[in-house]
């Protein structure tokens, strides 16, 4: 009888220790994940700040030309790209020349060549937009709700994420980008400048 009682007590102690260990381990994991979530948030804030502040003087200096890119160049891409629109993604050397004039690399910022422009321009799908790279490449891309809100002017602060949800071109999908909204003189968002985060 004594042996049975001893065995039951020993099993109970093991169970209590096991349960206590599980609780402690769960608490540690929870704390660890909370800490990493905080680190992730801080890193995003830091990158947004760094990439948007870096391009700010350039945008201020070339504001009129950047507005032209969104209001005149992208909407009239057919006239620039006549004869080049058959391939996907659309490769358009004429467009590249125009963009280089309006967005010169004379007083550039870091990773200048990875800059691209997004305009909510496509007619067929509300979740898609036109992406134009400095090289003159045009693509229709899928955009998420966060980007849609930024393009429609519902949010005004720069955002960070992976915005290359391309239809035709799944390249660059691992990179994250900082999206900086561009406003016209009346304060309306006319498009977004996208900068690849390259570290």
């Amino acid at each position: 009888m004594q042996q049975i009682v001893k065995k039951i007590t020993s099993n109970s102690i093991s169970f209590v220790y096991g349960f206590a260990f599980l609780l402690l381990f769960s608490a540690l994991v929870g704390l660890f994940i909370f800490g990493l979530q905080y680190q992730n948030k801080q890193r995003k804030i830091k990158l947004i700040e760094q990439y948007s502040q870096e391009i700010k003087p350039y945008i201020e200096k070339h504001n009129d030309d950047i507005i032209k890119i969104f209001t005149e160049v992208i909407p009239t891409m057919q006239t620039y790209c006549n004869g080049y629109l058959d391939s996907t993604p659309y490769n358009c050397p004429q467009l590249q020349k125009t963009v280089f004039k309006l967005f010169p690399n004379t007083d550039s910022f870091s990773n200048f060549s990875s800059t691209s422009f997004i305009k909510n321009e496509t007619s067929n799908n509300i979740n898609s937009a036109t992406l134009m790279e400095l090289s003159g490449e045009l693509r229709e891309i899928n955009i998420n709700q966060e980007m849609l809100n930024l393009l429609e002017g519902k949010t005004n602060d720069p955002i960070i994420g992976n915005f290359y949800f391309a239809y035709y071109y799944p390249g660059n999908s691992d990179n994250i980008q900082v999206a900086i909204p561009i406003k016209n003189s009346s304060g309306e968002t006319i498009g977004v400048i996208l900068r690849n985060v390259i570290e």
């Binding site: 994991v29 990493l36 992730n40 994250i176 570290e199």
Partner: protein
């Protein structure tokens, strides 16, 4: 080196690394689920390398442990049969 000592060392390494790997594994899945971007890509590559190295050390430790334990069992049963 005595078999028993090697067995103790390998089992300690395996237990400690398995505990740490449980943590790392949970963090890895949390990273996938929450889509975290915690470190620059080069740091992430280095951490991935450490994780894989840890995994290889665990597998090696367990293998050595199994081999030595089989050897100990064989030696003991030989002694008992005599």
């Amino acid at each position: 080196m005595k078999k028993k000592l090697i067995e103790q060392i390998t089992s300690s390494i395996a237990v400690i690394l398995l505990f740490l790997m449980t943590f790392t594994g949970i963090t890895f899945f949390a990273d996938l689920f929450f889509n975290w971007d915690l470190f620059p890509p080069n740091v992430e590559t280095f951490l991935g390398f450490i994780m894989i190295s840890g995994l290889i050390i665990i597998i090696s430790s367990v293998m050595i442990n199994i081999m030595i334990n089989i050897s100990i069992i064989a030696t003991n049963s030989e002694k008992n049969n005599k």
